[in-house]
Every structure is written in C-alpha cells, then in structure tokens.
Symmetry: none
Subunit: 206 residues, 4 copies
C-alpha cells in the first residue's frame, strides 16, 4: 500500500566513516575558524561536506564532539615532528637558513594559522588542548633552539643573546604568524620576511 501522506526522504551517497569523518573535520575546521565555535552552525558544516544536518550525527554525537575530534586530529599530526637534520659542520648562513625554513614549515603552515584562530577564542573552553598545543609547538621549536645552542657552544659563544634567550630565534616568524592570523593572507609586515629573518640570525650568530 502506497503511503503518500507520510514523508519519505531522499537517499544520497553513502560513505564509510573512514571517508566521511575526515570530510566532516575539514568542513568543521573551516567553519569554526571562520566564525568561531559558537557561531558555526551544524547546517553549514553539513553543507560544506555535502551532507545533511542529521547526517553528521551518524558520525559524531554532538557539535562539541566534532570540536574535540578536530583538535585531536590537528594536534596529533605526526608530520609535525618530522624534521630533517642539519648537516654537521655547516656554516652560519646555512644554519640560519635551515633554522628559518624549519620554523616556517612548522609555524606558518595554513593549519597552524587556522588552529590559532580557533584556539584563541575558545581557549577557556578547552584549556587542556591549549596546553597540548603549547607543548607541541614548544617541543617542536625546542629542537631548532637546541641546534642553535649547540652551535653557539661549539664555537665558544655562550654569552650571546640567543644563547641566553633562545626563543628570540622564533620571534620574527611568530611576528609574521600573528600578522597572518589577524589580517589574513593579504600582507606580511615585509614580503622579504624570510630574508630578514635569516639576516637577523646571521648577525646574532656572528
């Protein structure tokens, strides 16, 4: 018997969770970083990954669950830890270039900016994730700073600023990072910021 007085929904493409979940997280990342967690709508996330609102709930229990899964995925990216080593005995400029390029890869990745935009307004909601991120980036940049410090010690220059305050090595690129985070891709403080950073390190290492 045909029941045309009750509702019969359309059926669309059916994907396995392994395919769908990353799509959802991608969509969520964009919506969250664009409008903030609260203002982002499940509808928009769904639409962005070609799903209906209810479809999200086949994979996640709540908006909050998406948010947490998103942080998990982003913070557990293993490739963040992969870093080519510097050839031993490299010169000062080579050291500076290696340093800046490593930092660039680590801190100016689009993901980092997006995550930063996401974490800043929500840092009180998820302080533990902020801590995770702190450790991650810290551990990451720590490697760079250690290479610098070893190099300085090897050349007997324990009294430089960089030796005493190794975080200064990061400052120019963090400066650019904040710029991007606030003002978008449109402009850096200096389009030649890579060269500026390298030059600065050279002067401080010399």
């Amino acid at each position: 018997m045909i029941q045309n007085d009750t509702y019969r929904p359309k059926r669309r493409l059916r994907l396995a969770p392994a395919q769908r979940v990353p799509q959802i997280l991608d969509a969520a990342l964009q919506e969250f970083s664009r409008r903030g967690f609260t203002a982002a709508r499940m509808d928009d996330i769904a639409q962005r990954c070609g799903l209906s609102k209810g479809g999200l709930y086949a994979h996640f229990d709540s908006k909050d669950a998406i948010f947490k899964a998103l942080l998990d995925r982003t913070l557990n990216r293993t490739d963040w830890a992969q870093m080519p080593q510097l050839a031993a005995g490299a010169g000062t400029r080579a050291l500076a270039e290696w340093t800046v390029d490593r930092l660039h890869a680590a801190l100016l990745a689009p993901d980092v900016i997006t995550l930063l935009r996401l974490l800043i307004p929500e840092r009180e909601r998820v302080p533990m994730r902020v801590d995770e991120w702190k450790k991650l980036t810290h551990g990451h940049t720590q490697q760079v700073m250690q290479v610098i410090q070893k190099n300085l010690e090897a050349s007997g220059r324990k009294d430089t600023v960089l030796a005493r305050h190794p975080w200064l090595v990061l400052s120019p690129i963090v400066h650019v990072l904040l710029w991007h985070t606030v003002f978008g891709e449109g402009g850096e403080p200096d389009p030649h910021y890579r060269q500026a950073h390298i030059d600065m390190l050279c002067e401080l290492l010399a």
Copy 2:
C-alpha cells in the same frame, strides 16, 4: 509571588547616557572577550552593568551596535599616540631600553590583548575595524622604527638588518603578545623577556 519583608523594589537608578554608555561598553568588553561576540548574551552585559536586558536598548539599537561602538571607543583612544621623545645623543643601550619600553606600553597593554582576542574571531564581520586597527598599530610602531632608523643612519650603519627590515624591532614583543593572547597571563616564553629584547637590540645596533 512576593509577600515577605525581604522584598525590595528593584532599584531603578536613572543615569544620563553619558554615564551609562561607558558602563555598557565596559560590560560588553568583558563579556565579549570572555565568551566571544556570538556567545555573549545581552542579559549578561545588562546584568554586569546593573541594567535590565531591555534597558540596553535605550542606548543601543542592537548587540551589533554595541560591538561597533566598543571598537570605535577602543580604537579612538588618543593616548595611544602619546609617546615621550628620546633624549638626543643617547647611547645604544638607552636607545634600546627606550624602544622596548615604548613598545611594551603600546603592545602589551591589557586592552591590546583583549582587542586582539576579540578581533581575531570577528575579523570577517568587521573588516573595516580590523583595517583601522592595522593602521593604528602600524602608525604607532612606525614612530619607534623611525627613531631606530635615524640613529642607524646617524652612525653610518645603513646596511644592518634593522635598517633594511625595521619591523624586526617589534618581533620579540609581538612574540610575547601572541603568547599572552593564546596562553593568558600565565607565562611568557621567558620571564626576562624585556632584558632579552633589549639585549637583542643592542647586539643588532652595535
């Protein structure tokens, strides 16, 4: 139903707009920076300044109007432009100290951090205000950079990194600013960041 002697009619203090509006903006700033624009509730803003929800609407047409008025007020603070001049003929270290202290006053003020936290998630809603802020801070730090550049030119050192990329002067403090913005007052990359910044400038100016 109220029928005991603990009943106190709601106090209805009437203030002129000139008094009330700043109170509302203060309350809004706190709520907005605590929870973000979207998640902040008119009820909370009202309560924070001792007003009822509807009372806000005697002074502002909408939540959005409050937000914009708030940005206007913060961005039009004249005291941002006030900066003591550096005594002529000061030495390198004095120059560095003056520079760092000026930048600290300008960029590490609580207002700046609060505004930054507010603008990042809302930058797409109020792009013009973001531009205003960009110009403001740019014009502001420009003064510091000019003092540095003049000093370098005066001593014939046109070829330093700072001469070519004066924005590097700001980087350490911007680094700390981002740190505060994300991680709160809890920790800087280095508690002696002022000394680090000064030392760095001394090395680069020497």
Copy 3:
C-alpha cells in the same frame, strides 16, 4: 550640591489637557488606521503629536484608553446629524443631487474611511462600538431614505425598488467608500461617480 551623575530630563511645552487631548487623539487615529491597533506604537503616536512617550500617560492610562476615547470622540461628532433640508417641491433631479451630496458628506468624509479602516480589524475587540457606529450611520442615512420614500409616496409610486429597498439609495456611494478604504485615495471605480449616482437615482425615481 550639584548632582551631575543623575539624569535630568528636558522640559518642553506644557499644554492644558483641553489642548493636548485632541492632538493625541488625532495622532492616534492616524496611527491606528495606518497600522492597526496592535501594530501602532505609543512612541509613534507620541512623536506625531510632539510629545514623548511618557507624556501620553499624563492624559491617558493606557493605549486601550486612547482607543476608546478615540472611538467616543469620533462617534459622538454632533455635526454628523446636521443636515440641510431639501426645499419642498423640488424636482426629481434636484432630489437626487441633494441625496447624493448628503450621502457624500456623510459617508465619504476622510473620518469615515479612517474609522472604517480602524473598526474592521478591531471589530471583535469592541463590538459595542461597532454597534454604535452601525446605529449612527443607520440613523444618518435613514433620514435620506425617508426623504426619498416620502417623495415616492407623494407621487404615488409605492411599488418602485427604492420604495421597497431604500438602502439601495446608498449602494453606489458605499461601493466607492469600500474602494477608498481598500485602495486608498488613488482611484474610484469611476471618477464621475457623483454623476453616475445621481443619474441612477433619477432613473429609479422616474
């Protein structure tokens, strides 16, 4: 002691109720007929008569009180009853012209249209006032119909339609009245509706 931290309102023109009340009722009539009772705002009524919102409450206890006072005033207009008498022994055409002009004065007055627009949506709120209005207009048009009937009887034509259904005398002008009420002043079914009405009566009286 000067209290400049509390609010001190401006003082404006102070009128006696005898002046102010009619102004308020005029303003209310316009707002009510323009937007309906519910949608009309006290603010708009106040502004339309150069008063502040609270000022209305010095004269009326509530919006409803204004509405009722308005109906009272409009329905009690004595001038509605004033009607020049027709010279005895006038011809058919003179009778028709007198009739149409009387009806025009009574039914196409701006007040009537405005009141009609007001009563139609609110007729369930104030059924007694609708009845009053019914009696008023009925009593009013009754006079016209009586003149017609007497004339028909005098000429021995008791069997005409108009003699049996004297309300038909009003129909053309009521037709125009409804037109105005719905479509505004912009257009009648016929710009020569007066002539049409007179001609119709002449034919029916002949």
Copy 4:
C-alpha cells in the same frame, strides 16, 4: 547550547511539505483573520496545525513569508475565473438573476470577506498584493459588466446609466459585502438583498 542528557522531544507526525504547507496556511488564515497579522502569534498558528513553534520554520522563513504565501494561494485560486455563460436570448429578468448570482458567488464568498478583513489593515505592508487583488476582482466583475453592456447595446439602449457607468451593477452587492465585512454575518441591510438587487437591475435595464 543544549547539553541535557534527559532531553526527550515530543514525538509528532512527520508530513511532507506538500501536506504540511496547506495546513499551515489554513491555520494562518484563521489566526490572521481573527486577530490581524501583527497580533497573530506564531505559537497559535503552530498549535492550530499541530506543530511546534519552531516547526513552522522548516517550511517558512518568517511570519511574513507565511502571510505572503497565504495571499499568493488565495489570490491564485483558479476557480475565481470560472463562470458559466448566460444563454443567448435570455430575457431581462433572467439576465439580472444571472448577474446577481454570479456576483454573489464572486464577491460574497467567505474567502473574499476574510481576505478583505486581512488586506485592509495590512494594505501598506503589501501594496503589491492589494494591486493583485484589485486586478483579480476587476477582471472578474468586468465579465459581468460586459454581458450587461452587450445586452444594452443589442437592444439599442446605449444611453442608460448602466451603459455609461457599468460599475453600478456591482454596487448593491458591494454594499452588502462591506456590511458583512464590518458587522459580520449577523445582518444585511436587507435580508432580501438578492431580490432587491435583481429588481434594481430590472428597472435600470428596462
């Protein structure tokens, strides 16, 4: 954000839009004509069609959208245009009866009265819909007037009032329409208004 684990919504019938939308419009028509657009509450409309307040928004974007859809539906009723033709060679009285019955069907339908009551207070909000209605009724009555005019021309009576001002044909029934609109079903100016109208037309056509 709702994070209550004991949340259990009431279960209700799910209907396809094709079923639900007419129900909503029916409910809206009743509420709007009972209380006027502004005073009608979404809650009441929802309840009247067995829906929750928010459920309406799955089908309509706003209260205004419901109002406009309602006008669309009512104004697009095709059966308004359907009219039986008059047998050729009918006598004067037959012509008058046909005319009055057609007009009665067209203008005294409950829908028309309801729509009229609705449009009068909202005519400034939806002037275009008022125009539509004007055209509809005009086109409709135009047919009646044309039949009358042809008949008059056929009998060589081009100089009658009805020939010059055909809208007078409608006047008695418009009179009754306004009466109903204002005073409800309770009473016409004359319970034999159909006979009166027919008689009047006979006299004017004779």
